[in-house]
Symmetry: C2
Subunit: 502 residues, 2 copies
């Protein structure tokens, strides 16, 4: 990183270690409102509402991604913006899915000129990679987005916050109503800091809404629409544990590694994703907990039916939920007393008194590429196209005592572990171990000592790269020298990498 300045991003502070950047005292613009008892907040006409917010060309609008691939709110707002002649908008949205493919058209028309997100798939990712957005995209981590908002680095003019339930004062949640989606944790920083906050909902309850997740003091307007989302897209199908024997082997090895690390004891805390290997790892961890009668403290992450079952069966006492993936996660949040909805800031913001990730014993994470220094890419595919983003990857890896990357060594005939990778999302220093079908590579001297006499198969990561290389051949990169299309911001606001046009 020898770049000092990136157009439409600003000055670059190069990444220099996960906990090395000393934060400066910032000055946050406080958007102070005068609330009068006679004020009416509820609107049913989207254009009338947008005019009321004062939104104008060049502004930044924000959204959360809790409606996932069923989101209809972004489309409703952007169509109205187009009709009102508002353009050159920066879209700050916590994640982008294929349901947002239509954004590519808004980029072409100059209505959306910049994307600020934590994760991006589908045609929007391709469009960013091809340089079809006028301005450089900014990719943050989940905790980094919260940090940027609270620090004033990401200033939001109008936050549009999809809520499955509201009352006429703007008390909102995501757990009630016909399109309930669960935790609304990613929207909490937006509600706290946006110049104007709008709740967008399709279900209104009498005042006061029971169990609001965001309260009326933080919501300026309520926009009622027909449907905030498509229930089929909101609920991902329940993710099943992988049946692939190689992936099951990796998962079993992962569980054994966690066990042998010494961390798997009463009070154990665990984060895992919703992917096949991750869930299988959770399953094998549970088997060990059962055998040894271990009672865990909390599970965290994208919450799925499987993780809820670990709570319901008594393996863990608490669930911290910044995002739910399925109906079981929603049901549990509605009913289980120790299933807590948490904001993305409480979850992972490095610039707070302490985010929950700092209390993690172990996190199991995926990767698209890992280099021999354990630097991990979850952002681009091997051909340089954007196909994801950090989400909570870097956050959980930095916080957890034991951060494990699980992956097949080779996937679709391509090496995952190799000398050089396409881009860096999470620094190797945050990763303690990598588990693949060939064994375990360690990046932690203390852990290496602990495991010295274990029966685990430990290899050097260079050996793994060499095995992969022997099978797949050297992966030649033509590093693009075209324009920078995306900045990969680390959780502390430094820049860990840039992505260039394909």
């Amino acid at each position: 990183m020898n770049i000092d300045y990136i157009k439409d991003y600003g000055e670059v502070i190069a990444f220099n270690g996960a906990f090395s950047l000393k934060p400066k005292e910032k000055s946050l613009k406080k958007h102070i409102k005068l609330s009068n008892p006679t004020d009416n907040k509820v609107y049913t006409n989207v254009k009338e509402l947008i005019k009321k917010t004062g939104l104008k060309s060049g502004d930044t609008i924000s959204f959360h991604h809790h409606l996932r691939n069923g989101d209809k709110v972004v489309g409703i707002i952007l169509q109205a913006c187009e009709e009102l002649g508002i353009n050159d908008l920066k879209l700050a949205i916590s994640a982008i899915f294929p349901t947002h493919d239509f954004l590519v058209e808004y980029a072409k028309k100059g209505i959306i000129t910049q994307i600020d997100t934590n994760y991006c798939t589908g045609k929007v990712a391709n469009a960013i990679s091809r340089g079809e957005f006028k301005k450089v995209a900014i990719f943050r981590t989940h905790g980094g987005r919260a940090r940027a908002i609270y620090a004033g680095d990401l200033e939001i003019d109008v936050a549009f916050i999809a809520a499955s339930a509201t009352d006429n004062a703007g008390n909102i949640n995501g757990t009630m109503g016909k399109n309930a989606f669960g935790s609304i944790g990613y929207a909490m920083p937006d509600a706290d800091c946006a110049k104007v906050s709008v709740a967008v909902s399709d279900t209104i309850y009498p005042y006061p809404l029971s169990n609001p997740s965001i309260t009326q003091d933080k919501i300026d307007y309520v926009l009622m629409v027909d449907e905030i989302g498509d229930p089929n897209g909101i609920k991902s199908g329940t993710t099943d544990i992988t049946k692939d024997p190689i992936q099951l082997k990796i998962a079993k090895t992962t569980a054994n590694l966690i066990d042998e690390s010494g961390l798997l004891k009463d009070g154990f805390s665990f984060q895992t994703g919703a992917g096949g290997i991750s869930l299988a790892s959770a399953h094998y961890v549970k088997e060990i907990m059962k055998e040894k009668n271990i009672k865990g403290s909390f599970i965290m992450g994208g919450i799925t039916a499987y993780l809820v079952s670990l709570y319901n069966e008594g393996y863990f006492n608490n669930i911290f939920d910044v995002q739910g993936f399925d109906l079981e996660a929603l049901k549990s949040l509605q009913t289980n007393p120790n299933h807590y909805e948490v904001s993305s800031s409480l979850y992972a913001n490095i610039h707070t008194s302490s985010p929950i990730v700092n209390r993690l014993d172990c996190v199991v994470l995926g990767a698209t590429e890992v280099d021999t220094n354990f630097n991990t890419n979850v952002m681009t595919s091997s051909n340089g196209y954007i196909m994801g983003g950090s989400g909570g990857h870097s956050d959980a890896a930095a916080g957890a005592k034991l951060a494990i990357i699980t992956t097949n060594l080779i996937r679709t005939r391509k090496a995952i572990v190799k000398e050089k990778i396409n881009s860096i999302t999470t620094p190797g220093e945050s990763i303690n171990a990598l588990v693949c079908e060939y064994g375990i590579a360690l990046n932690d001297k203390t852990l290496a000592k602990t495991l010295k006499n274990s029966r685990l198969k430990i290899l050097d990561i260079k050996e793994l790269a060499s095995i992969a290389n022997d099978i797949c051949g050297v992966c030649e990169y033509e590093k693009s020298n075209k324009r920078i299309v995306a900045v990969v911001e680390y959780r502390d606001g430094s820049v860990i990498d840039v992505i260039r046009q394909v």
Copy 2:
């Protein structure tokens, strides 16, 4: 108010109407921390902790008053400050009780030089009135204190937040532990904005604390002490409904007024204090609700056993609790699903999207003096000594559709209603009616029309003043022209009055 500037307070914006001051966009210093997973938060040595916070002479320290007259935390911290040679402190505490009388000694020693509070009784009030603190005191409303903190007008260097329960990460509440006190709502702005936030507790639970009211991302350090308070002082004795026949008459008239106003119907919302007339008014309101089968929406205010009984018996569906007064309030907060703990900002901060006071139908309030323009004093006694403060008085009066002052016309041989009063706390424009044993005075033309044909006894407030005058004689004020000892700040940050040395 022809004062532009007050030493140790700053520029004066004169009060000019309850909703007339347009707030300016402010710039808030964001105290950004870098949290590392290896950080330890828990201290047992108070001086070591204070050194760690960086507290120095001239700084501002804050406390909440939820421990009421049983608080021991202020004393613990100030003793350590004295031993460390730290002086010239500004004490920003949400209310001061006789248990804090020792602060007068700290004023004499120059350790505390300025008081910033919402309510003050006991020897500290007398000492302020006599000019024994070096710098002018600042009196705010409960909502005004929250406003000032979020706007950066009241900058807190170190917040010491008494918590009856904590874990080692700083998740805290006031509802668990041996000295549980209930809602911790007044401390929430401090935790959000202080440069350094310290939880002070005597009971530590395993991580994570269940039902935290303030979460670990907002607490930098945890100080463990033997006792945060004296349970006898924490719990006020349950306030009983008055047995005084005159006060009962006033209360009954108040309930009839509320009934005849047309507001007492399904969805009714109500705030009342813990005083004898207030509780009796609530009782008579309940009788009418029972007779007419009316189901209310929410009750709010300092929560007492009587208000909890209204919820438990089904007269109201919700309780909003910024502060509890007794054991029943605590029990209800612990167990009743629709008993909500709210921050002072959500409760009453005028500079938010909307505080809950804006949703009040009716509030019943007290007064020490009321002038013939309905301007109300709850700050000074008739001899000019400070003996209280607004607390939520001005906030609820401004928000409610119907704000009623209830008072005996004459108390201890002194007129309460009179031409001129000693100081103004709540502007007359916020008051709709005054009820005393002689009848009702109205300050609301619409209400006057509504009540035209009612059987209520309506008098002009000047008649009431005249009756009181006839009985007590003219109350002669010698307006002091000595130095200003206290600024009375209205909830929006303007100055509604000043108090001069007695």
